[in-house]
Symmetry: C2
Subunit: 234 residues, 2 copies
């Protein structure tokens, strides 16, 4: 079961959802659909437990989950209510959504990173970028596919934008995008000898950043992402 590298076990989550997960989803539906509107009161824990034929503990855990995501607020003695701005605490990507939207969002975000990096990078940022590229070259030369190094390169680029919120979101969406791209196919990259292509594109990004040319950096990154999609047959 755990023989596969961790990065590969993506959608194997079909392992029969727990009662809590099922109930949380069931409660989320009417909120997302608008059947339960903000400030509406949810049925009491006791009533929900009886309706769904589970114990109150399960109901409480499901509601706790909705609470932490900002869909529901509770007040002792009064009840549980749909939050004023449901889902405002956390941003989740729809797993069942179309992948191309996710990948495009990633391209936009990383292009923003590149453009900001072009404007704001320090000498240290530039050194880090070059070091990340060198590390990837070494990993490829050593026979790997340089996945970790590629991730590192993109994170260093985001770091050079000098906006922590942007950097964290870039990492978040990058991870989901990589999963959506089915990294299991990564082994094809080596056979098709396309790792050099990636390195060249990274080099173009570095050059644009170094020249402090935001538009060129944005364009280089969008080209890089587009090429990545093509490489993965999307």
């Amino acid at each position: 079961m755990t023989a596969q590298p961790a990065i590969l076990r993506l959608p194997l989550r079909a392992e029969t959802p727990s009662l809590v997960e099922s109930l949380a989803d069931a409660l989320l539906q009417p909120i997302l659909a608008g059947a339960w509107r903000p400030h509406d009161r949810l049925p009491s824990e006791h009533a929900l437990a009886e309706q769904h034929q589970v114990s109150r503990a399960v109901v409480r855990e499901a509601i706790a989950r909705l609470k932490s995501d900002g869909y529901v607020e509770t007040r002792q003695g009064k009840g549980a209510f749909v939050a004023a701005a449901p889902g405002g605490n956390a941003f989740r990507l729809d797993v069942d959504g179309r992948e191309d939207h996710l990948l495009e969002l990633r391209a936009l975000i990383e292009a923003d990173c590149a453009a900001l990096a072009a404007e704001r990078h320090t000498e240290g940022d530039l050194r880090n970028l070059r070091a990340a590229q060198a590390a990837m070259r070494d990993a490829v030369a050593a026979g790997g596919i340089g996945l970790a190094e590629d991730i590192r390169f993109h994170d260093v680029l985001a770091e050079a934008a000098h906006n922590p919120a942007l950097r964290r979101f870039a990492a978040f969406i990058g991870r989901h995008a990589r999963e959506a791209m089915q990294l299991a196919r990564l082994s094809q990259l080596r056979e098709q000898n396309r790792l050099a292509e990636i390195e060249a594109e990274h080099g173009a990004i570095i050059a644009a950043v170094e020249n402090r040319d935001p538009q060129a950096a944005r364009a280089a990154l969008q080209k890089h992402i587009a090429s990545g999609l093509r490489r993965h047959g999307l």
Copy 2:
């Protein structure tokens, strides 16, 4: 307590955190700090309950919360483990972070929306944009500040980008940005007679979108956000 409009009650969450919240935070710290690394096993529920002097139910709810955020994974009979990519399920904004980073991220995202909208908008999108602007004008004429209509305008713009993931994130970050901008000061807008300014900027965005000029749309939106910051004294 509820006399204030819902949009205004932002950081009044100091209402003494529950045991579950405290414990969830306490468990999250070592994960974020790296003291507990991915694939590490957490203490058992029984041990955690004894350590923190709470019942097992509280421990379970706290862990359920970390699970839904993707920080930990549990397997029946084995225990709870730090996830391979902690926090990968949901993106949260640091509340204690610097506001300017958040506001900049919003500007980038909305500029992306504007640029895409310029490329992809349909006739219907354009009608919606004009209708949203008209609605805001009416609201202002009627003596309001047109907050809901302003939110609507930005959402319609994001919709015209025709990328649901981008639109959802734009709504998410927009809401947090508005909170950070201290909307309580919105009443100043009317006195300072700056609502006309906003309308003019919205008009510039519509014009750029209509001309299918992504760069102009991006620039117009960045100018709009920057002006908004100035209007709010940031």
